[in-house]
């Protein structure tokens, strides 16, 4: 005799804002009628911090998972004890996520799944059936996006201007690049709304060596406070090529980078942790050397590469 229980949210994309009620229904499919001591929904939201690699040393790594930060932990009674008849039963519910009356000091961070930091919200339904029976339960993740009221109202800050020349490089470059020179200029957003592409433009004004490729790397910087120390992990989350080959000089190329929805969230600067982003403009020049080297980490500076990294703040607007 099997009984199935399911938690079905009202929105297919499961995205809710803190001020909005979490709506849905509990679906129970059972061959026989069930008596129970009550039906409740548990809402849980937490920040999980983890340290592995990055700037963490051996000792820090031993700590492993840090104590999670609880954002939300509520139990809501949906029905008192009673019976569920046989067949399919649907029990609708509507729960307010953020209760201003409650002293809720923690912010509702947006859902995020990174390397070291994970912010997750779960809803669990429990049908309690006393000690004789195992309680029936089902869990579903819902995604939290910032509230409209909390949205940034200030104007988007202006684009960052960049110049990439042989003199701005902090790593050694090929002698012919150093002597021949190059100049690539442009602008790129330093603050970008989550749902919009990262925009800007770039112009190759001069280059002694022919260009092989120009790429925009999107970097994520996760920092965790561990005791007195901040452990930082930088990961490359997306590469977007904007020039393939030795493009015409003085022709404006657009920078148009679609943000990967799953590996980004608005920039967070909390006490115990932070999630930040950067963009790197990487110019690869055609050279014999590069051909001989196997493909390596795109972020490692090489003799035949020039780069410029700018901070990027991701924000939730609209």
């Amino acid at each position: 005799m099997s009984t199935k229980i399911e938690l079905s949210l009202s929105r297919p994309n499961r995205i809710y804002r803190p001020s909005e009620p979490l709506e849905g229904k509990i679906v129970v499919i059972s061959a026989s009628s069930i008596s129970h001591y009550g039906i409740r929904i548990v809402l849980n939201g937490s920040v999980t911090l983890q340290v592995r690699g990055g700037s963490a040393g051996v000792i820090e790594s031993l700590y492993g998972v840090l104590k999670p930060i609880i954002i939300l932990n509520r139990i809501i009674e949906i029905e008192p004890s009673g019976r569920i008849v046989s067949g399919t039963t649907e029990i609708p519910f509507s729960i307010t996520l953020w209760n201003p009356k409650e002293d809720n000091s923690e912010r509702f961070y947006e859902t995020f799944h990174g390397t070291d930091i994970s912010i997750q919200y779960l809803a669990t339904v429990d049908i309690m059936r006393g000690y004789l029976h195992k309680s029936l339960s089902a869990t579903v993740e819902f995604i939290v996006e910032s509230d409209k009221a909390n949205l940034l109202n200030q104007p988007i800050s202006p684009d960052g201007i960049f110049y990439v020349t042989q003199d701005t490089q902090r790593h050694p470059i090929l002698p012919e690049l150093k002597s021949g020179g190059f100049r690539i200029t442009g602008r790129i957003s330093t603050q970008c709304p989550m749902l919009e592409p990262l925009g800007g433009e770039l112009t190759v004004e001069a280059s002694a060596l022919p260009i092989s490729s120009i790429d925009i790397h999107l970097l994520r910087v996760e920092s965790v406070l561990l005791g007195e120390k901040i452990i930082t992990e930088t990961s490359l989350i997306q590469t977007t090529q904007i020039a393939d080959g030795d493009v015409c000089r003085n022709m404006t190329l657009p920078i148009y980078v679609v943000l990967p929805r799953l590996s980004t969230c608005p920039t967070v600067l909390a006490g115990p942790f932070s999630i930040e982003f950067k963009v790197a403009i990487v110019i690869t020049f055609q050279s014999e050397l590069s051909r001989r080297h196997p493909k390596s980490d795109p972020l490692t500076p090489r003799l035949w590469m020039a780069m410029e990294t700018l901070p990027l703040e991701l924000v939730r607007t609209r």
């Binding site: 997306q238 393939d244 080959g245 030795d246 015409c248 022709m251 404006t252």
Partner: protein
């Protein structure tokens, strides 16, 4: 869409590919796909997709073109299969792989074909995504239809859910790492913007700008072509993005022409092949820009392309890349070309880069102007400029440009220029064996001249015309000659001896250029017909001897044209007749004509033809009082008749032709004085013996017998109905007046023929034919004989036969019966023959 299909076909045809293709970076996709079905989709590692280095191998592999194409078709099928088994991610991944193939331009001539194959795959993916989102918009998850989108739905009609799915697709495609596949994939699903926004012109403009990042000239040109193609899904008057495309292509072409030959790795040999590979893109985009453009918009486009400085100032003397200019000129509305012709010529003059031959642009303007010559306002300036420009050209280019402007020169009666042109051509072409291209242009030029002038003498009198004609050879020469002959013989007879001589030489040239072995070939029929018509149209008036000499000359020159020889005989006979009618003494000349005919006839194949020609000549001889000639000719005719069946017996007999020839012979015999030496009736008897000796159909024999009966009946009259029109020839009615043996001979002949006639009808197998032949015979008998007790039974018998074969109400039958009745009542009136 149909337009695109034919464009793709032409594109593949235009750049033929060698059998083997060397593949480098694309090899993995292509070579791996063969085994791809064995692999489950999960084994396609996503990192492979993001790593171009991994799939590029140093060693190049060689694969046949066919293999390559079928691999791509397999990939297409696989994408399709994956999609329909709900594995859309795999479909997308494979499509990205396919798009990535276009990154390799080292395949050169194969690139257009590759583009067509890849764009087909991407179009298919685009259609599938479109359908899926549409489904999402119209159907709930349980399959129930909850709304239906109109053909021209708006963004507000699309439910949020469907929009979300659509947006996800653009996100997925937008995060593709490499530039080229990212652009292509967005273009593939580009039509889906309709679910999200009303007019995606900003996205189009962005894609055009993104394409600038593709440094390879070939890859970027075809990418722009794909933009133009996909954008057609959004009909819009905004062509700004296409203008940017053209302007960017212009920059690239400028860069190509200013760099050293070796600068483009794959295109080391020359820049020309590269430019011509890029040309289809320029062509398609230019067509899309100017398709159905209003004059206002054309002006705007010209300004935006940098051709016009502004709507007011127009042409600013800035050069334009000549291949771009070429396709612009091709698409500009005719009236704009006509109105601004001088400025355009100036623009061509300053646009002299090596992307396209300058002279071809001059030629193109000429051709465009000819579409509406009446609209050109500045004819003199145009022609002066062109004549000036071409004066520095070699023959081939000269001819090609001049050819395009010739109609303008001719229609505006610019005789001075025409003179210059012909003079220049003859100067450039002298002492030179003309090449195929030059001949073709020359042909076009001369044909234009010929169709412009009304009479051929005028053309002949143009300076250098004949000289130029002489320089030609081969099929172009023949075509021009044919035009000349056609024109010369179009209206009326030719009298001028010089013209006739020229035309004779032209005919000779045409004749010798024509393949004599295949004279029966349909292609050469036209030539033979034209030469024959020319010979027929020649008229030397009263200078008969010259005309006959001309005929003799023609017989020698055009011996292989059978059709012509017949005409020669007719002409010579006609000439003799004309001389006779002249009244003067021309016996000697007439004899020459007759001799000419007599000699010519045997070389014409076909006995019936010969027979008729002999008869015609005999008639002429009779007209000239030349009885013995006429007798000989009639004998020759009889000989033809005799040989007819022997030679051609195996084939079906041309009954109608034979019948009419013999009838003609019989009617001629009325005029021919009987020859007592060989027997007065030896000719009819000869005919009879031929009939007897052959196994012709009873129907034909019966009709021939009727002809003999009519002949005898006529000859037995006291006064013949007609005589030879010559004072010295006496008819048989005078020669044998009152000669009872003559009458007897006629009687006995008639009697036997009559019997033969009645007998032979019985042998006719077909009932209907038997009936009608009986009636025919009966009619003949009734009109030839007096009805008496001998004749009546014969007639009755024939009528009975007819009745047994035909319907009683048959009109021929009833009218014959009434004809017989009428003659029976009139039997008292004396009739021709009494038996």
């Amino acid at each position: 869409m149909k337009e695109w299909t034919s464009f793709k076909r032409l594109l593949m045809q235009r750049f033929p590919v060698s059998k083997m293709i060397s593949v480098s970076s694309m090899s993995n996709t292509i070579l791996r796909s063969g085994k791809a079905h064995e692999k489950s989709s999960s084994s396609t590692h996503p990192e492979e997709l993001d790593d171009p280095q991994k799939s590029s191998e140093e060693s190049t592999k060689v694969i046949t073109r066919q293999e390559f194409v079928s691999r791509l078709h397999e990939l297409k099928d696989e994408i399709n299969r994956a999609w329909h088994s709900e594995d859309r991610v795999k479909s997308l991944k494979l499509s990205i792989k396919v798009a990535r193939l276009l990154m390799d331009t080292s395949v050169l001539n194969f690139y257009p074909t590759l583009f067509v194959l890849v764009s087909d795959v991407l179009d298919m993916l685009g259609d599938m995504v479109w359908e899926r989102i549409r489904q999402k918009a119209e159907f709930a998850e349980d399959g129930a239809k909850f709304c239906s989108l109109r053909e021209n739905f708006g963004v507000s009609d699309v439910p949020t859910d469907a929009k979300e799915t659509c947006y996800n697709w653009f996100c997925k495609v937008g995060t593709i790492r490499e530039l080229l596949p990212r652009i292509y994939l967005e273009l593939a699903i580009f039509p889906c913007w309709r679910f999200l926004i009303e007019q995606p012109s900003e996205s189009l403009q962005r894609l055009v700008m993104m394409t600038r990042g593709l440094a390879d000239p070939l890859a970027s040109a075809y990418c722009r072509l794909y933009i133009a193609h996909r954008a057609q899904k959004f009909p819009s008057h905004d062509t700004g993005y296409l203008i940017t495309c053209v302007n960017d292509i212009k920059l690239i072409l400028t860069r190509i022409s200013s760099t050293k030959e070796t600068a483009f790795g794959g295109f080391a040999d020359s820049k020309r092949p590269l430019v011509s590979l890029m040309e289809p893109s320029v062509e398609f985009i230019m067509k899309s820009i100017l398709n159905d453009a209003s004059p206002r918009r054309v002006g705007k486009v010209l300004v935006e392309l940098g051709i016009w400085r502004s709507q007011e100032e127009l042409f600013g003397g800035l050069p334009c890349i000549s291949i771009v200019l070429h396709h612009l000129l091709k698409e500009l509305p005719t009236d704009i070309v006509c109105f601004h012709a001088v400025d355009i010529l100036h623009l061509i003059k300053c646009s002299n880069d090596n992307s396209y031959d300058q002279y071809l642009n001059y030629r193109l303007v000429g051709l465009r102007l000819c579409e509406q010559i009446s609209q050109i306002t500045t004819v003199d300036a145009i022609v002066n400029e062109v004549i000036h420009v071409v004066s520095e050209y070699g023959l081939d280019e000269y001819l090609k440009v001049v050819d395009a402007y010739l109609d303008i020169v001719l229609q505006n009666q610019m005789d001075g220029h025409l003179k210059t042109i012909l003079e220049w051509i003859s100067k450039l072409a002298s002492d030179k064996v003309l090449a195929e291209d030059e001949l073709a242009s020359l042909q076009s030029i001369l044909v234009k001249l010929l169709s412009h002038f009304k009479n051929v003498e005028h053309v002949f009198s143009l300076n250098h015309f004949l000289q130029i004609l002489d320089m030609m050879h081969g099929s172009s020469h023949s075509i021009v000659n044919m035009h000349i002959l056609d024109m010369a013989t179009r209206d009326g007879y030719l009298h001028d001896p010089t013209t006739i001589q020229l035309l004779f030489e032209i005919s000779q040239a045409l004749h010798s250029d024509t393949d004599l072995v295949n004279m029966k070939n349909d292609d050469n029929q036209q030539q033979a017909r034209l030469i024959s018509r020319f010979v027929r149209m020649v008229d030397h008036g009263v200078v008969y001897e010259r005309h006959l000499a001309f005929l003799v000359e023609c017989r020698g020159a055009f011996g292989s044209i059978i059709e012509l020889k017949e005409i020669l005989v007719h002409s010579s006979n006609c000439l003799a007749t004309k001389a006779l009618k002249d009244g003067k003494k021309h016996t000697g000349f007439v004899k020459s004509c007759i001799a000419f005919s007599e000699v010519t006839i045997p070389s014409i194949p076909g006995h019936i033809k010969q027979l008729n020609l002999f008869l015609e000549t005999a008639e002429v001889a009779l007209l000239g009082g030349l009885v013995s000639h006429s007798d000989d000719l009639i004998d020759s005719a009889i000989n033809c008749l005799q040989s007819y069946d022997l030679v051609e017996g195996s084939r079906t007999v041309d009954s109608d032709g034979l019948l009419s020839s013999i009838r003609k012979l019989c009617s001629l015999l009325i005029m021919v004085p009987g020859n007592t030496e060989v027997g007065i009736l030896h000719i009819p008897k000869n005919i009879l013996s031929i009939i007897h000796s052959r196994s012709w159909s009873p129907r034909l024999s019966a009709r021939l017998f009727c002809a003999i009966i009519s002949l005898s009946a006529t000859l037995s009259q006291e006064r013949l109905p007609y005589h030879a029109d010559h004072p010295e020839i006496m008819g048989n009615d005078l020669l044998f007046f009152g000669d009872s043996s003559y009458v007897r001979e006629l009687l006995s002949l008639t009697e036997s023929v009559l019997q033969n006639l009645v007998d032979i009808i019985e042998h006719e197998p077909s009932r209907a034919a038997r009936g009608s032949v009986s009636l025919e015979a009966c009619n003949c008998i009734v009109s030839s004989f007096k009805i008496n007790e001998h004749i009546l039974p014969i007639c009755s018998k024939l009528i009975e036969t007819a009745k047994s074969c035909l319907d009683a109400k048959d009109k021929y039958l009833t009218s014959t019966i009434s004809f017989l009745d009428k003659n029976m009542h009139a039997a008292t009136v004396p009739s021709s023959i009494t038996i």
